[in-house]
């Protein structure tokens, strides 16, 4: 079991090194976050066929995966990404602030530049021994929760905001109560991994904790891999996670890959790619595709980050920046 996770870790490191090698020809580099490996493997194969028919070129798309923040930093530091497909808009904003992407990036593609969405669900042990059905059940005595560190993981920020938003939207809910709820929740976290994939490994392979807060697509992937060990519980309310995509202007203009890069991102909105996304358990934006896969996604009341938190910049500042609500929750622990 540990060997497998170790091997997986080593291959991902080797792969990261491989894709970090200098570009050859017209290969596109898609720098993405942790759980999209399988999605983009399928998308890239479909895009290669589509683009060859359209332009006669055979594009190869290379992938790089890691924590969303770390990936954004790598691009800022000079990783030659043609496109970035990250976990949250804040990370692409950070790249835009460095001047590599035009600041109006989110308006250039439909639906806030998010071709697919996801949400945050619970993964529990088979048979749901702790009887976890919704957010309040997480605070039952003896329940241990696994979620990554929101300072380093995009997925963890969605987890955190989903829990906060749930508490705030309850009858009589307000910021004080939401802070108390999230604080109680974090007290039940025995280990803060740095990324979503690491947290999944901790929960599934090492068997630690009773419930994993994670991306819906990541939960389904874990389910597919370990049929009899876990099951998915969808809470009544959760957050609409919109992982955005953008062309890295400075890089494509220098490499002359703008046409292919833009076609690649637009391809994500086609029924074909939407179908792939749905099969990989991302919620498709395309109405027809969504209708076809309606039964494979749980009915969850979804709220957006704009509606509850006023967008990513505001959410980042009040919750995850130094001195934000996450820090404040942990400060008193040190004085115990």
């Amino acid at each position: 079991m540990f060997l497998r996770s170790a091997a997986r870790f080593l291959t991902s490191v080797a792969f990261a090194l491989l894709v970090a090698a200098p570009a050859h020809g017209q290969a596109l580099l898609n720098v993405s976050y942790d759980p999209t490996r399988e999605l983009y493997q399928d998308v890239n194969a479909a895009f290669a066929k589509y683009w060859q028919k359209k332009s006669g070129q055979t594009p190869s798309v290379r992938q790089s995966h890691g924590g969303s923040g770390a990936q954004a930093r790598a691009v800022i530091d000079g990783l030659d990404a043609d496109v970035v497909t990250l976990a949250l808009a804040y990370d692409i904003d950070a790249i835009a602030q460095s001047g590599l992407i035009r600041t109006d990036w989110q308006k250039r593609l439909p639906q806030n530049s998010s071709p697919y969405t996801s949400t945050i669900v619970f993964l529990v042990r088979k048979g749901n021994p702790k009887g976890i059905r919704d957010w309040p059940d997480l605070l039952k005595p003896g329940v241990q929760i696994i979620t990554p560190n929101p300072k380093t993981s995009g997925g963890a920020r969605w987890n955190y905001l989903a829990a906060w938003g749930y508490a705030q939207k309850q009858p009589g809910g307000n910021e004080t109560k939401a802070r108390a709820f999230v604080g109680e929740l974090l007290k039940r976290v025995p280990v803060l991994d740095s990324g979503a994939r690491g947290a999944t490994t901790t929960f599934v392979e090492r068997g630690i904790g009773d419930v994993l807060l994670t991306w819906e697509n990541e939960a389904y992937l874990a389910l597919d891999e370990t049929k009899d060990k876990v099951e998915i519980v969808a809470p009544s309310v959760s957050i609409l996670a919109e992982p955005p995509v953008a062309v890295v202007d400075k890089v494509v203009d220098r490499k002359g890959t703008r046409a292919a890069a833009e076609a690649y991102l637009q391809f994500l909105y086609t029924p074909e790619a939407q179908d792939i996304a749905a099969r990989r358990h991302y919620r498709p934006r395309d109405q027809a595709v969504a209708a076809r896969y309606a039964s494979s996604f749980a009915k969850v009341k979804l709220f957006t980050i704009d509606e509850v938190f006023g967008g990513w910049q505001a959410a980042q500042k009040s919750h995850f920046a130094d001195g934000g609500s996450f820090d404040q929750i942990f400060k008193p622990i040190g004085r115990r």
């Binding site: 996770s5 170790a6 770390a70 380093t152 090492r206 130094d322 820090d327 942990f330 400060k331």
Partner: protein, 278 residues
């Protein structure tokens, strides 16, 4: 002793070439990268320096790093000499295998060590489960950090002491005994003084290595802010938040610690060598 100031007296040629390589290599590989850290920290400005250093999360991460590294180095300072002594002085089946195994923590990627230890000491692990029954949790607590640091530090102490123990002349111990020295006196007055400088070096190497260790620790630490977050993790965390200045400041403090530590140990060694000679 005459000084070798000209090449004529050397048996092997190539002094200038090798010296050039040595200096160029040291400057490029060691000096320049190390110099950029204080340079960056200073360019961040005194305000950022102060802000980063007074952050309670950063302070507690240094506390965690220093206490766990010290604890692990102390354990290794006791276990290391024992292991080295056994491997040098006794002959037993499998000795060579054990001797080779000592280097494993060096050769193993630290992440693998971390994953393995976390699995072993985790609540469902071979060792974690019986320990949990005794009320001891190792994985995802500061104790887990100490375990990982003992693992990576042990070979440093053993390998530093081994050659010194090999050089010890058994005849001197025999002479001391035949002159009527009791066993404790042989250990205290004859053996330990010879081992002392190497023992200090081994301890300091293990301590310095433990302060900087990241790969194996993050898997077993739990990484809970204020409790089990180590200083090197703070660097990574700050970088993830695009806080380059804050990350550099933490790096600078870690570097300064290593420096002070190594200088202190060098001074101690010089002192003990002089004492031995005199």
């Amino acid at each position: 002793m005459t000084r070798h100031s000209s090449n004529r007296r050397r048996v092997l040629p190539g002094f200038k070439v090798t010296l050039t390589f040595t200096i160029a290599g040291l400057v490029l590989v060691v000096l320049v990268p190390l110099a950029t850290i204080p340079a960056r920290a200073i360019s961040a400005g005194p305000h950022a320096l102060l802000l980063a250093m007074t952050d309670s999360r950063v302070i507690s991460s240094f506390r965690v790093t220093l206490t766990t590294a010290f604890a692990a180095a102390c354990v290794n300072a006791v276990a290391g000499p024992l292991v080295a002594w056994v491997l040098v002085r006794y002959r037993f089946p499998g000795r060579r295998v054990f001797d080779a195994l000592i280097d494993l923590p060096f050769a193993l990627p630290t992440a693998v060590a971390g994953i393995t230890l976390a699995g072993l000491y985790g609540p469902n692990g071979w060792l974690g489960r019986p320990l949990a029954a005794l009320g001891i949790t190792v994985a995802f607590t500061p104790l887990g950090i100490v375990v990982a640091l003992i693992f990576i530090g042990l070979p440093l102490v053993v390998r530093t002491l081994q050659p010194v123990i090999e050089d010890l002349d058994v005849e001197i111990e025999e002479a001391a005994t035949s002159l009527g020295a009791p066993r404790t006196a042989v250990v205290r007055r004859v053996i330990l003084p010879c081992l002392y400088p190497a023992w200090l070096t081994g301890f300091s190497l293990a301590f310095a290595r433990a302060i900087g260790e990241y790969g194996s620790v993050v898997f077993i630490a739990g990484n809970i802010p204020m409790v089990s977050e180590i200083a090197p993790l703070m660097i990574v965390t700050k970088l993830q938040q695009y806080d380059y200045a804050g990350a550099t400041v933490v790096a600078f403090v870690l570097m300064a610690m290593s420096f002070v530590l190594l200088l202190t140990i060098n001074a101690l060694q010089g002192w003990s060598a002089r004492r031995l000679a005199g």
